[in-house]
Amino acid sequence: MTKPKRTAPFWADGDDEDSELEGLRSMPEIQAITMPKWGLAMEEGMLARWAVEEGATIGLGDEIMDIETSKIANSFESPVAGTLRRKVVGEGDTVPVGALLGVVSTGDVSDADIEAFVADFLASFKPVEKAGDDGPRAEPITVGGKTIRHLRMGPEEGTPVLMIHGFGADLSTWMFNQQALAESRPVYALDLPGHGGSSKQVDDGSAAALADTVRAYMDAVGIDKAHLVGHSLGGAIAIEIATVAPERVTGVTLVAPAGLGDEIAETFIAGFLTETRSRKLRPVLEMLVANPGLISADMVEDVLKFKRLDGAPAALGAIAAANFSGGQQKVSLRDRLATISVPVHVVWGESDQILPAAHSEGLPPSVSVTRLPGVGHIAHMEKSSEINSVIKSVG
């Protein structure tokens, strides 16, 4: 019998590996499910609930458990497929990032082999001491007189992915995507001007002006061409870049992008700009998701902390005024989609309360569209493995 092999680090949910392993499918294999690392600051997580029983067959991307950290609570989608053989960690237990949560096997694997695998893992596992010490960090660089904070992950080779967040967010919005995609290619994420750790000067605040800064950023870090992934306002920025500088773009993935229709939830924009107390801001942020339980107290607090930075309220106000005002989007890019010659894929949560999913209807035939039922505006967080698969399929 072939010795079962240990594969799949926690972030690997890759289709690439799947196709390579197609021929090996029937070979017995033991795989670990480990505590994921959601965001740079995460050191440990609490397994709140198992959604599957021992002995169940689980598929790639199935929701197998709920995990909570001080920052975020989310369902964890399986990075592996097979039969769940062991729950190593019980509900309510808090363990470090990388710790063994469960064991999955494919093919004919004995209980003794499973026990040996668990014992082996536990004997060799050493938690990372401090968050951030082990991996890449977000860093500031200067782009055209502005400070831009960015985070690069992944190898040197491969077509880069550049991730562009939406209004009021920052690069941490990609915590469930960036590391997963960086297995096989370089993945960059930046804080737009006015956001996160970047300068609070936003020029006229328009999507076109922000796109100019993103292009200057690509020059500064030496990205010749990239697959652009944009969420919401970041989607509008990606369309701008793909049409103004098509030679810089190999593909475009748009998650609930701005610029494809008229309406936008004024209650969200106004509430985001004006609310200063966590108890008042929380219902505003809950509009972002289909399941309000995903918005943790720490997420609300992080938004408040950002809004208190000198210059942040003025920057957000300028961006909102330039792009969304009185419930109407001022940026209109629908006609430009047909002119993009590289692959374009639009993903939209059907329960989006900020930008209606109807904006994904009637797009040019060259554009692929995926609609996700039961998902809100931040589909890349709510259904990360689906979005990651789409990004990989675009190229």
């Binding site: 200063t276 107390r277 966590s278 108890r279 107290a297 902390k305 208190r308 930075l309 000198d310």
Partner: protein, 342 residues
């Protein structure tokens, strides 16, 4: 964003505001140290090193070591504020308020009212408070309730490094006199603090824990004990909301009343003596405005009505701690259960 101590957060707030606004000056006893002696400039940087490095950067015109008479230099700072500067004056220990209180409550606090709203007094009085430092009865008191009593003063009690920086920047930018209380035992506490300047508005409480059973309102250092108690109690199925008002004047009564309406039970934690304290003030507020939501009597966790002891054993007993907070929460929970059983 990086990890900074409460001490570093305060130093950074002063430094960034002095860089931003040339009208900001700082004065007090030994805030630099060594002035007028053969010793090194900046030998002290404040008795606990909080203002270290400011004099070398900003010079003697903006960083002033003063003599020992609080009555004169606190008065001078109030006057400087009235004539256009934005002074930060350090009253080394709040216990020394006795010799300069007139300058604060009869002068600085009254200028806006006495001059028909035409005078502003952008003065910050930074001061150390609190027990736990083996410094006995004249260097350990929690006198913020006395300042909270005076209309015209704003009173600030940061409970962690993030709050210390943001509230001090707000205090410096505020056009009214602000008394800024720094707990001695918190100077080495570390936390994530943004490198950029930011201001936390006054009168907006922070809700640090959210629960269904009991609201704990705590002040300054006590917020950290309340959080610890809430975390311990959560493990035995008692869920607490913890409210850190951040400022006692103005006071975020709305958040306090809303959370008590949700939980129906209140524990107030205040390191000050119980009579005329923030604890008794919050109890009065809730009894008057949220009586119908209460399922149990309000419980106060305070120090005793006694001077802070010099004996270390007695001082440790004197300070309200995590155990006392947990016991108070359990007692209000038990009250509800006794009633249900009857």
């Amino acid at each position: 964003m990086s990890k900074k101590s409460y001490r570093q957060a305060i130093n950074e707030a002063i430094r960034q505001e002095m860089e931003r606004d040339p009208r900001v000056i700082i004065m007090g006893e030994d805030i630099s140290g060594g002035t007028g002696t053969q010793g090194d400039q900046d030998a002290w940087g404040g008795p606990l090193g909080v203002t270290k490095g400011l004099r070398p950067q900003f010079g003697p015109d903006r960083v002033l070591d003063t003599h020992l008479a609080e009555i004169s230099f606190v008065g001078a700072a109030a006057g400087a504020a009235a004539t256009g500067l934005r002074p930060i004056v350090e009253l080394m220990f709040v216990d020394f308020m006795g010799v300069c209180f007139d300058q604060i409550f009869n002068q600085a606090a009254k200028f806006r009212y006495m001059f028909g709203g035409k005078a502003v007094t952008p003065l910050v009085v930074r001061t150390m408070y609190g027990a736990g430092f083996r410094a006995a009865s004249q260097h350990s008191q929690c006198l913020y309730p006395m300042f909270t009593h005076i209309p015209g003063l704003k009173v600030v009690l940061p409970s962690n490094p993030y709050e210390a920086k943001g509230l001090l920047i707000q205090a410096i930018r505020d056009d009214d006199p602000v008394v800024f209380f720094e707990h001695k035992a918190l100077y080495d506490m570390e936390g994530e603090v943004p490198d950029e300047p930011y201001a936390i508005p006054f009168g907006e409480a922070s809700v640090t824990r959210e629960g269904d059973d009991v609201t704990i309102v705590a002040f300054g250092r006590m917020v950290n004990f309340a959080n610890e108690a809430a975390d311990n109690l959560a493990k035995v199925g008692i869920s607490c909301t913890v409210v850190d008002p951040r400022t006692t004047s103005p006071l975020d009564t709305e958040t306090i009343l809303e959370t008590v309406a949700e939980t129906g039970r209140l524990v107030v934690v205040d390191e000050a003596h119980p009579r005329c304290s923030m604890a008794s003030d919050i109890a009065g507020l809730v009894a008057e405005n949220a009586f119908d939501s209460l399922k149990a009597p309000i419980k106060l966790v305070t120090s005793p009505h006694a001077p802070v002891p010099f004996s270390s054993v007695l001082e440790d007993l004197y300070i309200p701690g995590v155990d006392k907070i947990e016991a108070a929460v359990r007692s209000v929970m038990d009250h509800g259960r006794r009633e249900a059983a009857e």
